[in-house]
Subunit: 331 residues, 2 copies
């Protein structure tokens, strides 16, 4: 498992607490997915390596503490919901690796490469199912309902993205809608649930949902940029896959919409030949990559502004830092 963020550099006391809390979230996930069948446990052990910075669980825990600073530590329901959103995220990683034909994930082999498509499909299903089961142990129908709607939305985003694969006319609005659904929905719900479990009050709940929504879109735009101009050994997963699979990302969509004639034709040609290096050069030269970064940065600013309604607290400070971290994926 890759190391979580070192939050102690932001706030040593809170950072240490969150480290312990994330350990507990991981333990809760491990207990949930444990099976009496050894092959299942071996697969889940491998998936355990996919935990990255555990941003989604962090958002659940921090949102709770930020809306209710009197909370000395996250509640038990927070830990469970944190485990649920992480399980959903892990399931999407396992299934995304099928979509991306990814051989690597977090610097190691993907389940897809090790065990084939079929096992990836069923293991992902097992994780989704366990997420819903773990969620149901809370006995709170409102949480099940919200997360069920979230995963509906998430899957819609994925299906519609596939539908537009190779579609050179994909417009920015549809791209944004796809990104909002497939990525931002779960991050937004993680924040909203964290708030809701700490303080059932609409204003702070909406603020946190809005923070997560804007941040999630910024996160995906930045992630898409990595596919275009990131370096494989730094990103920890294959780059250039979006291009190879005909998945258009923001700089390309905008360039195609704005240009015509030879200039547009040149970009179409580079996309069709999957020439990542030349495409990156053209899009950099035209300012399209920088413009996408500005859009992501604006979204991060919006996200941070949503925190203004919350009282000042160490948890809120960490949420600010995490927001900025979205733009610098080396964090």
């Amino acid at each position: 498992m890759s190391k979580p963020l070192d939050l102690t550099t932001i706030d040593s006391e809170l950072g240490e607490l969150l480290e312990l809390e994330l350990d507990e979230v991981v333990r809760r996930i491990e207990i949930q997915v444990a099976s009496d069948f050894a092959p299942i446990n071996a697969l889940c052990l491998h998936v355990g390596r996919y935990h990255g910075k555990m941003l989604r669980p962090l958002f659940v825990l921090l949102s709770g503490m930020a809306v209710e600073p009197s909370m000395v530590r996250p509640g038990d329901a927070h830990r469970t919901v944190a485990g649920v959103v992480e399980l959903i995220h892990l399931a999407t990683l396992v299934h995304d690796d099928i979509l991306d034909e990814a051989a690597f994930r977090r610097g190691g082999s993907s389940i897809n490469r090790l065990h084939g498509v079929e096992t990836s499909v069923m293991l992902g299903d097992y994780l989704i199912s366990n997420a819903f089961h773990l969620c149901s142990t809370l006995g709170n129908p409102a949480i099940n309902l919200l997360l069920g709607r979230t995963t509906n939305t998430l899957c819609e985003g994925e299906v519609v993205q596939l539908h537009h694969r190779g579609d050179l006319d994909l417009d920015e609005q549809t791209y944004m809608e796809i990104v909002a659904r497939k990525t931002a929905s779960l991050i937004s719900s993680a924040c909203e649930l964290g708030a809701m479990l700490a303080r059932d009050e609409p204003a702070s709940r909406q603020a946190m949902a809005g923070y997560g929504q804007s941040l999630g879109i910024a996160f995906q735009i930045t992630d898409d940029l990595l596919d275009l101009d990131g370096q494989e050994h730094l990103v920890g997963k294959p780059v250039g896959r979006d291009l190879a699979k005909g998945k258009l990302t923001l700089p390309t969509i905008r360039a195609l919409a704005a240009l015509s004639g030879t200039a547009r034709g040149r970009i179409v040609d580079l996309i069709q030949r999957h020439d990542r290096t030349a495409l990156r050069a053209v899009l950099t030269e035209g300012g399209w990559i920088e413009a996408a970064r500005v859009t992501a940065a604006d979204l991060v600013t919006s996200a941070r502004q949503r925190l203004d309604v919350l009282p000042d607290s160490p948890a809120r400070a960490v949420l600010h830092v995490l927001a900025d971290g979205v733009l610098d994926r080396s964090v």
Copy 2:
């Protein structure tokens, strides 16, 4: 969509009622999966054709009416749960088609063939997610918990089956455990939930769970036999896929365990050459196919005996007929 069973031949009044109820279940599923994205709706429309006899919804409805014969018709929660179990079943069909590399399903093209593996993965996920969301609308955590555990079990069965692909030493006990989990668990839960929603009383609930469990195993053994000796145009899906994918079924497992030397070597050779016709001939001659049919028939007898604790009613009579129908898949 293929026509549901004509239950009016068993009991005209109840048969007509159930037909209307199943229409309502289908409508509930359609409303649940409807999206503001047209491509999703197009895919779901196609999956609508996968409804077959709608056995699982029927089990929910009939179990309720059988344990509580004073119920003139199934309750609203019954219809929703019937929709949930059908949605889970549809999701498994979409994902199973990836596993089986099936080009056809219910006589039409599979999503896998029409739209590729990636869309099948995500559409299946969308259906699973919608199943849990629909379930959550009931606001009854006990149902979420039971169905979450059921789908955990179902996925375990699928993963472990994949793990044993090509394993010529797969023993009967493990085969039975796989079948119990991947197929019987959902049928058993459909029956149990139907009972539970009508009358919260352990004896009838356990009776219906036991009926579904035995019937589910019998159903899968019979289904596996079709792959070996069924005819494609009657079965409505490709046959011989289990053999081609190294999935051992009951007659083969027993023959391999019982035989040794040349006799065993001959069967191993036929499996490895995927020679369905010759394998069927050898297994028929040795009585292994007939023995598997007897096992399935015994399980159906056990299932029917579980109904003895229930009062006599038209619903119970239909459950008896459905049990027998498992052995004759032309029903």
